[in-house]
């Protein structure tokens, strides 16, 4: 099998070099999909694969598609992926332990089978001689493509437009959240707080939540505020830190200060 020898289309050595440099890179980047645990890394590597493909397109005498590939995939689609990864959780690294029985083996089998079959077919097929696009791209490639798109394929093109609009609407609807309750503004919040206070809630609910870090010796956000009796006020520490268990205990605060405040509180109690 040596199609190159007979073809009128002779691929340059430069293209060969380009291919043999980029193709392994693209495969490695694609394999990242299978083996990396960090979603962001995967997205970045796939973006790389897309760029590699864009270069291949250009080499294959399709500069218009090459540019479009960069714009659409690398610029729009992969960025959209990154946004969603950000929304869903950057650090939600996924364990690679398979949970479905036999799934991994089936996947490996299917993958190898696909590669063998596809490559086998492509290599074994009696392909025609390469013609090259010199003639088709006589008026530059974008013009040639445009002639087809706005000529032979104009109806499909219009349909694609409709599809895009529908997709945009669909995405809007899918991510739309119906407001089921009344919007809670500042006034409503204040009213609710006062009402809770009237019902016998603690005084804490009526005032502004105390800020953390007042008695801090270091990074303040994890140090709870203390109330008048020297007790830590839970709500002063950000929820995230509390859930992670990174909240500082009273013992980690300035002991003297705490004692002073506690003493004042005691005095107050005696006065009362």
């Amino acid at each position: 099998m040596n199609p190159v020898a007979q073809t009128g289309l002779v691929l340059s050595t430069g293209e060969g070099v380009l291919f043999w440099v980029l193709a392994p890179l693209a495969v490695i980047g694609a394999l990242w999909l299978l083996f990396s645990r960090r979603t962001v890394h995967i997205a970045a590597s796939i973006a790389g694969v897309m760029i590699a493909l864009a270069i291949f397109y250009t080499a294959l005498e399709a500069p218009f598609l090459g540019v479009a590939q960069v714009v659409v995939y690398t610029g729009a689609v992969m960025m959209l992926f990154l946004f969603v990864i950000m929304l869903v959780g950057v650090d939600s690294s996924e364990s690679l332990v398979e949970t479905l029985a036999g799934q991994r083996w089936i996947a490996v089998l299917g993958g190898i089978g696909l590669v063998v079959l596809v490559v086998g077919i492509v290599v074994g097929a009696k392909l025609p001689d390469g013609v090259g696009l010199a003639q088709a791209n006589a008026d530059t490639n974008p013009v040639g493509v445009a002639r087809l798109i706005f000529g032979e394929f104009v109806f499909s093109f219009e349909l694609t437009g409709a599809l895009l609009i529908t997709a945009a609407l669909g995405a809007l609807i899918l991510t739309h959240r119906q407001r089921l309750s009344k919007r809670i503004g500042q006034r409503e919040l204040a009213d609710a707080k006062l009402a809770a206070f009237g019902q016998g809630g603690s005084s804490e609910t009526i005032t502004v939540t105390p800020s953390p870090g007042v008695y801090a010796r270091h990074n303040s956000a994890d140090s709870p505020a203390l109330d008048a009796f020297g007790e830590p006020v839970q709500s002063s520490v950000p929820t995230v830190l509390r859930i992670r268990g990174q909240e500082a205990g009273v013992d980690q605060l300035d002991a003297d200060r705490v004692a002073t405040i506690a003493a004042r509180g005691d005095m107050k109690e005696i006065d009362g």
Binding site: L100, I106, A107, L109, G110, L114, L117, I121
Partner: protein, 642 residues
């Protein structure tokens, strides 16, 4: 000619009125009943105009067909909707419209306090229209339309107060038993079509002569089944007693004067068929004789005023059927008795309605008694009807019933003796039970609570206080008119054989037939049995006191009270075997068919249960299946291609 061409108006007017009353609904509540009366009266006027027209012609020209439109053009079966105006149908038209109008007027007062009076009149008009279709039709198909129409109207009117479930059941019973008869009608029509290729009277009767007797017998018997259903003849008689659930005007119009006599009309109209089938004729006579006695015996034991009258109707129609079965000799008398009966029985039903009206809807005769002092008009009109049905000369019944008895004695061999004796015996029993009914209601001592009796019977005192009173003028006038008919109609129409010669174009000319016994002897015998029955009834129910609570009575009395076990017989012979069959079919259906189907279903469910485990719900499993499938598919294609 013009008058007759408009005969369709007779049907259209009441039909249109019924439509208006039903469609416009409550908006016409105020005057709807008068529209009904008017429609019926208009039909009656049209009928009289037609009578004048026909009387102006020679006897031979009195049968006129009026073609209306092509009704069923279906290949070989072509049915045209046409009317046949001849003396027979016109007699019926006159009876229906005239008596019908009187009863309409009566009902205006009778139904005054019913909120649904308008609907009642709509149904009554519907009935009149359907009945006119029945008698005016010129083919069996159109007759059947009317036949079903009156069945529908009858059903609607029996169940008029259908909020009472037993009334609704009575309506259903009448409807279902009529369906049995209709089956016979349908079979008869199919046989007619198969034999003659037509169901038109003219074609059929012209071809009937010389047709295979077996076919005619089949048709005749099937027509008889239809007649039995509609006319409450044995063995399809059970519905009539229960049909008294309807308002009394309905009982008078439909279940005494007109609809129930449709069977007689059918047999007389189908005369040419029956004449070709002596066996069928004999069966007709036997059925008539059985029903005659059957109804009379039941009538003797019933304490319900209306049901006793219903039994009497059944018995009297038995007379007519018997006469109709005798052949041309009896046709005219059957129709004659039908007409006179239509008058006096309707009159008595209206009288019964008047009594019920005055007695707070009470129907138990044992709680009447001595009412003659309180409702003089009702008493007098009822008395005339009573005398007429007894066959006392010169009242109407005498002229018609006596002739039937005479005709029953005509013939050879055993038949005249048997049927004549039955007819004669029936006359005696009729005299007894009608007198019993009459005396129990109007004579004897009061057996109702008048509110101030010094020593009231405990059984009486517990009942509500009654204030018997005469009915309003709107009710009494129709009764009076009908009473006049009961008195004079028979005599008038018998003068010089007016009626029989009027019907001759249809029934055929009949020569003189001598009964096996001399006529004077028959007449004397008849009068004698009537007097015996009357005297017996007088002694038992007028001269001596009647117990308020019925005594146990003899075996026959108890059987008669239960309608000679007609319901039990129907139940045992038809309903229970039918139910058993149904149950076994249901069982078979459940076990065998459902078992097979259900079993298949269960197997599939099990299978599904197993394959269900393949559906893990994991997208990745599905995707894996797809991938493996794709690989396998491509591999197979490659393996086979290369």
């Amino acid at each position: 000619m013009d008058t007759l061409n408009l005969s369709w108006l007779l049907i259209a007017i009441p039909l249109a009125s019924a439509g208006v009353l039903l469609v416009l609904g409550r908006r016409v509540d105020r005057w709807g009943h008068w529209l009904g009366v008017l429609a019926s009266a208009a039909s009656a006027a049209g009928a009289i105009a037609m009578l004048v027209e026909l009387l102006g012609r020679g006897a031979a020209d009195r049968s006129v067909g009026v073609h209306l439109f092509r009704w069923i053009p279906a290949g070989d079966l072509n049915v045209d909707a046409g009317l046949l105006v001849d003396p027979l149908s016109l007699t019926f038209v006159l009876l229906i419209t005239f008596v019908g109008t009187l009863i309409h007027i009566y009902a205006v007062a009778y139904m005054e306090h019913d909120t649904d009076r308008r609907r009642f009149f709509a149904y009554l008009n519907l009935f009149v229209a359907a009945m006119l279709v029945l008698v005016l039709a010129d083919s069996y198909a159109l007759l059947f339309l009317g036949w079903e129409g009156v069945g529908l109207a009858s059903y609607l009117l029996i169940g008029f107060w259908n909020y009472r479930s037993d009334y609704a059941v009575a309506a259903k019973k009448a409807f279902v038993m009529n369906r049995v008869g209709d089956m016979g009608m349908l079979v008869a029509m199919m046989a007619l079509f198969a034999t003659f290729g037509s169901v038109n009277y003219e074609t059929v009767f012209a071809a009937a002569e010389g047709t295979n007797q077996g076919v005619l017998t089949l048709v005749g018997l099937m027509l008889l089944v239809g007649a039995c259903g509609k006319s409450a003849q044995f063995p399809l008689q059970a519905w009539l007693g229960d049909a008294m659930a309807g308002p009394t005007p309905v009982s008078a119009l439909i279940h005494a004067a007109t609809m129930v006599t449709a069977g007689v009309y059918l047999i007389v109209r189908s005369g040419p068929i029956f004449e070709g089938a002596p066996t069928a004729q004999l069966v007709v006579v036997i059925i008539g004789a059985i029903t005659l006695l059957f109804g009379a015996i039941i009538g003797c034991a019933k304490d319900d005023l209306k049901k006793a009258l219903a039994a009497s109707t059944m018995s009297q129609i038995g007379y007519m059927i018997l006469a109709a079965g005798l052949g041309p000799i009896g046709y005219a008398f059957a129709i004659f008795h039908l007409v006179t009966h239509g008058f006096f029985k309707a009159g008595m039903f209206l009288g019964a309605g008047s009594v019920m009206h005055g007695m707070g809807e009470e129907v138990d005769m044992r709680r009447f008694g001595g009412l003659r002092r309180y409702m003089k008009v009702t008493y007098a009109t009822f008395a005339f009807g009573w005398l007429a049905i007894l066959g006392v000369p010169p009242f109407s019944g005498f002229w018609s019933k006596d002739k039937i008895i005479e005709a029953a004695f005509v013939g050879e061999g055993w038949r005249p003796l048997v049927f004549g004796s039955v007819a004669l015996l029936g006359a005696g029993i009729t005299a007894f039970y009608m007198s019993r009914l009459f005396f129990m209601t109007f004579h004897g001592e009061k057996r109702w609570n008048d509110g101030h009796s010094s020593t009231p019977d405990t059984a009486i005192a517990r009942t509500p206080v009654q204030h018997p009173h005469e009915s309003p003028r709107l009710m009494t006038v129709p009764m009076i008119v009908l009473a006049v008919g009961s008195v004079a109609l028979g005599g008038l129409l018998s003068i010089g054989g007016v009626f029989t010669s009027w019907l001759e174009p249809v029934t055929g000319v009949v020569g003189d037939h001598e009964p096996v016994l001399p006529v004077w002897l028959l007449m004397t015998l008849t009068l004698a049995v009537v007097v015996v029955g009357l005297v017996l009834a007088w002694r038992q129910y007028a001269a001596s006191s009647v117990p308020v609570i019925a005594l146990a009575g003899s075996v026959l009395t108890r059987a008669a009270r239960k309608d000679l076990y007609q319901d039990e017989v129907n139940d045992g012979l038809l309903v229970q075997p039918g139910q058993y069959l149904t149950r076994s079919l249901v069982y078979g259906d459940r076990q065998v068919i459902d078992g097979a189907v259900g079993g298949l279903g269960r197997v599939m469910v099990r299978l599904g249960d197993v394959t269900r485990r393949l559906q893990t719900g994991y997208v990745r499993s599905y995707a894996a299946t797809m991938t493996i499938g794709l690989v396998a598919l491509v591999a197979v294609v490659l393996a086979t291609r290369i």
